[in-house]
Symmetry: C3
Subunit: 192 residues, 3 copies
Amino acid sequence: METQTLIRLLDLIGIGVFALSGALMAVRLRQTLVTAAFFALVTGVGGGSVRDLLIGAPVFWVQDGAIAAVCIAIALTVWVTPERWWQGQLLEWADAVGLAAYAVFGTAKALAWGVPPVPALLMGVITGCVGGTIRDILAGVPSIIVRPEVYVTAAALASGLFLLLIWLGAGTPVAAVVGALAGFALRGAAIH
Amino acid sequence: METQTLIRLLDLIGIGVFALSGALMAVRLRQTLVTAAFFALVTGVGGGSVRDLLIGAPVFWVQDGAIAAVCIAIALTVWVTPERWWQGQLLEWADAVGLAAYAVFGTAKALAWGVPPVPALLMGVITGCVGGTIRDILAGVPSIIVRPEVYVTAAALASGLFLLLIWLGAGTPVAAVVGALAGFALRGAAIH
Amino acid sequence: METQTLIRLLDLIGIGVFALSGALMAVRLRQTLVTAAFFALVTGVGGGSVRDLLIGAPVFWVQDGAIAAVCIAIALTVWVTPERWWQGQLLEWADAVGLAAYAVFGTAKALAWGVPPVPALLMGVITGCVGGTIRDILAGVPSIIVRPEVYVTAAALASGLFLLLIWLGAGTPVAAVVGALAGFALRGAAIH
């Protein structure tokens, strides 16, 4: 797979699963379909929007109508399907996948825009954590960052390992996959 | 009335009534005049600031001292007048007017900056909802978005109807007025 | 001392003490070291980031790796030292220093970017208050803005006095020091 394709895939995975976690939160709060779509969008693109603003890039989803449409479609899917399909810890697992994928993608995009390594790492962490944090603050539940679980650390592991492997000479695809898997594994262990 | 004037008027209405709702919230929380002015400003310009950042426009009130002065004057007016003038559901109604006006204006400005229809609709919704959400989060009350009321949907109706009428060939003034009135009516029905 | 150096110093003081207050908050919430570093960063650079986005300046810490490293070092220091070193009202006092320094610096930077006086004052207030507000919202405690204390007013005093003295013809260093001291004194009186 080409590097560009892989990085793009990580981005879409981050958006999609965060959108899913946002829609699930809204449905559990007995919100309307439109509010669920709003939660899906804000959770899905929130982290990437903050990242793009901070690094001075055009905000990715504003000029690309497809991304917003995907978030709305995910909310609609959650809305029309039986609620038992989405029970259990799916929200937590979707959030974990989004966290790991977005942390690596955020760091990779920051590097591509000329940000030095330490801020690039933080850009991965911040943007990986912002989507879920906005979702929790809007929903009025304790922010996932301060729950007694490994969360910020998992994002930092994904971004840090990605940067370390790049620095050691690994190709971007290897570094991205290993970083994201490590971050997901650490977060998953905390859920489990 | 010229299109440009109407759009500008919608913007000022959105800013003014959101500023009013912010000042009222601060006064109810027994805050000082300065804090009330701060709430008026943040609520009044919060949605528009996020919109401008996302679409890449210069943030409208930073270079235009008059807007900030108007927000401060509104806070001062609420502060020096008897509290019974502002009782009842005025805060909710002011918020409803701001929501409808800002949703249409946000979509219109996004279109003018070349944003495609789906993100433009969302730009209207997001920026219509952000001012009141920031006000509620700062005040520590449940965010208006998740209260059991029609809120996001009313903003989506205003923005969506505006877009639909434009697409059907209506002039901007007609589309703007019809969209804002429909959004306000839906939100008003939920208050009532 | 040169004006440029003094302004730079105010900036670093604001970042450093806000980072300290963020790290202290995380440690009191029994968070991990990585989460404490995240709180230090977000609290330290949050206000300045919002300011830079609003005035259209490049976000200061994204291209400058040293600032993020300093925030992380502060979190590490709080983490490895005995907790009794950091007891009592240190968090409140650190926050007060950051508020006063950041309010003046925010206004000075806004003026330097051509922002008119009224929005420049508000830029100082908003950015002085944003770091602590984000910290409190993430931590799930009532936002410092609405606690029954002088907070926004102290920031407004620091920024307003700075602007007034500049307008009266005082040099920037005098205006900055007097403004920051006045804001700090007012906030300090409320803590005490």
